[in-house]
């Protein structure tokens, strides 16, 4: 069976907007005609604690209601998580990892996974998203996702931001676009 379903896992800390990122990505994919699901890790969220969120999309209607165990790609909103948890757990062979980091992609090594980095914190601060100590990086990193994975267009992500982000819609769109432009793989 040709696999058309595509699954993404987001890692962040409570308050950073990982759940919203999954929501925006789902909404963007939906705008491009896909059936979608997005959900948080079914746990109790606390500010600053590691959280995860998930997105599933398919060209066919999605029946599946299980959690996601083997994602096709992984998005890491907070680089400090890399020391705390195994973010690559279950990642499919040849999967992609998008990390919010000022480092070059080549500085990370996760088996056969292809790594992309984006300094989403810098971009978020530049566009006035969140505070310096607590930047909201979720829209910037989605721009990077669009470039790295390529199955959801940056235009759709911009539209979805317009729908799902309550405040600073334009700044968020700009952050996503900027990240999209500068994202590089290893």
């Amino acid at each position: 069976m040709e696999k058309e379903m595509y699954e993404v896992r987001f890692h962040g800390r409570g308050g950073q907007g990982a759940v919203t990122a999954a929501t925006i990505l789902a909404d963007a994919a939906f705008r491009e005609g896909k059936d979608v699901q997005a959900f948080p890790i079914f746990g109790v969220e606390r500010r600053g604690a590691p959280v995860a969120a998930f997105m599933r999309m398919d060209t066919k209607p999605i029946d599946l209601k299980t959690q996601i165990y083997e994602p096709d790609s992984i998005v890491v909103l907070d680089p400090t998580l890399l020391d705390v948890i195994d973010v690559t757990k279950g990642l499919k062979e040849g999967g992609k990892i998008i990390i919010n980091s000022s480092k070059k992609a080549s500085e990370f090594k996760f088996g056969k996974a292809k790594v992309y980095t984006i300094d989403a914190t810098k971009i978020a601060v530049k566009h006035g998203l969140g505070t310096k100590t607590n930047p909201i990086v979720n829209t910037a990193i989605l721009g990077a996702y669009s470039k790295a994975v390529g199955n959801v267009s940056i235009e759709a992500i911009e539209e979805a931001i317009g729908e799902k982000v309550p405040r600073k819609k334009e700044e968020n769109k700009k952050a996503a676009r900027e990240a999209y432009e500068v994202t590089r793989g290893e």
């Binding site: 909404d27 979608v36 997005a38 079914f42 599946l64 209601k65 299980t66």
Partner: protein, 393 residues
């Protein structure tokens, strides 16, 4: 009609809003909290004209629903788990008073210990209270069933309350694409609630007074007849809904059951995964199908028999347990079949309690066990537990 991506809680809140309720008493509880939040927002934004009562407990939430409904208002609320359990007493009263209240439920496990994740124990434990019970597989169904529930409940032949269950987190907190019906169409489908009997100073009446043994049984007889009648009304409303909105609902929806040796019976969100599992197993040549139960009360026993009687095994999945007996659904399915001419084997699997994920491989295991029963010609263990973690036992 607009298609948007929203969480399950938002879907039931939107569904409620489209029904134009007059009064919404509610109390926050995980995972249903988004419901009162959204209703508050709709009212604040002028999108909804309703009285919201921010009560101090679920017992009071249901009591306020009862008061408002008795005055002829259209009423809804939302709750889950401990909240449902706390309002249990008042659920008997809502049903006995014949009040068409609709409650959205984020189906969640019961304490102790605290567990906020999905199972159906909270509403299943209210199966004897006289409420209609609907279970949604996806967010779209959550929204649609709110509208359908009001229409069924307010029907003069029924006049009973209903729960619309959406699974905790698996639906309540999951974003899915949902078609939101036009308000105009909903208004046509569900006109204003106009009860014949309600508390009215110009026609003073007493509700719920003493019913001595001379009369009481007849009250309960009438209540039983009404919920039995609801079975027919649900079919009518489903048909009308399809005509108006294009989406089809059935009390029980079969999938690839015609030639199936094994039919898996499910409720709630796992029904989707069941279909995915059936597809996978069908490709492997296994003759398996599944049936999704959307209505649990009134119990659609005859429909279940009709759709499943030609299978060799019916595997009944319960996301609940009546300790010391088995799954509630299983008991009622087996009971329904006993005096029928066809006798498939019936097995019971307790699954997914307290948010244990229900996986495709679980359905494969259930299929294997069921086929095993066919080979042996009998069911050795009617109540089985799937994937027990032996290490923690």
């Amino acid at each position: 009609m607009a298609k948007i991506t929203i969480r399950g809680n938002m879907a039931t809140a939107l569904g409620a809003k489209l029904c134009r309720p007059d009064v919404v008493p509610a109390y926050p509880i995980t995972p249903s909290t988004l419901f009162p939040e959204k209703i508050s927002e709709y009212i604040a934004d002028g999108e909804m004209d309703a009285e919201m009562i921010r009560v101090e407990s679920e017992h009071s939430a249901m009591s306020a629903c009862i008061g408002a409904s008795a005055c002829g208002a259209r009423v809804c609320t939302a709750s889950a788990s401990q909240g449902i359990a706390l309002m249990s007493e008042m659920m008997f009263i809502a049903a006995g008073m014949r009040l068409p209240i609709v409650m959205a439920v984020g189906n969640r496990a019961l304490s102790a210990p605290i567990n906020i994740w999905c199972d159906h124990q909270d509403t299943i434990s209210q199966r004897d209270t006289g409420w209609l019970q609907f279970y949604a597989e996806k967010n779209q169904e959550g929204l649609d069933l709110m509208i359908i529930a009001f229409k069924v409940c307010e029907d003069k032949r029924v006049l009973l309350p209903a729960t619309v269950g959406i699974d905790a987190f698996v639906l309540t907190h999951t974003i899915e694409a949902v078609d939101v019906p036009d308000q105009k169409l909903v208004d046509e489908f569900l006109p204003k609630y106009k009860p014949e009997l309600y508390l009215d100073p110009s026609k003073p009446m007493t509700f719920g007074s003493f019913g001595t043994p001379e009369f009481y049984q007849e009250f309960k007889y009438a209540q039983t007849k009404a919920i039995e009648k609801a079975s027919e009304v649900i079919d009518e409303v489903f048909a009308e809904f399809k005509e108006k909105f294009g989406r089809e609902y059935k009390k029980i929806t079969p999938y690839k059951c015609e030639d199936a040796d094994v039919i898996i019976l499910t409720m709630g969100s796992m029904s989707g995964t069941a279909r995915a599992a059936v597809n996978k197993m069908r490709e492997e040549g296994k003759k398996v199908g599944c049936c999704k139960l959307t209505v649990y009360r009134p119990f659609p026993g005859k429909e279940i028999v009709d759709l499943t009687k030609n299978a060799r095994v019916i595997a009944v999945l319960d996301r609940d347990i009546s300790p010391g007996f088995g799954g509630a659904l299983y008991g009622e399915v087996a009971a329904q079949f006993i005096n029928e001419s066809k006798h498939p084997l019936i097995t019971n699997y307790i699954i997914g309690l307290g948010g244990r994920d229900v996986l495709i491989e679980d359905f494969e295991e259930i299929y294997d066990k069921s086929i095993d029963a066919v080979k042996k010609g009998r069911v050795e263990k009617p109540v089985e537990w799937i994937h027990l973690n032996k290490e923690v036992l």
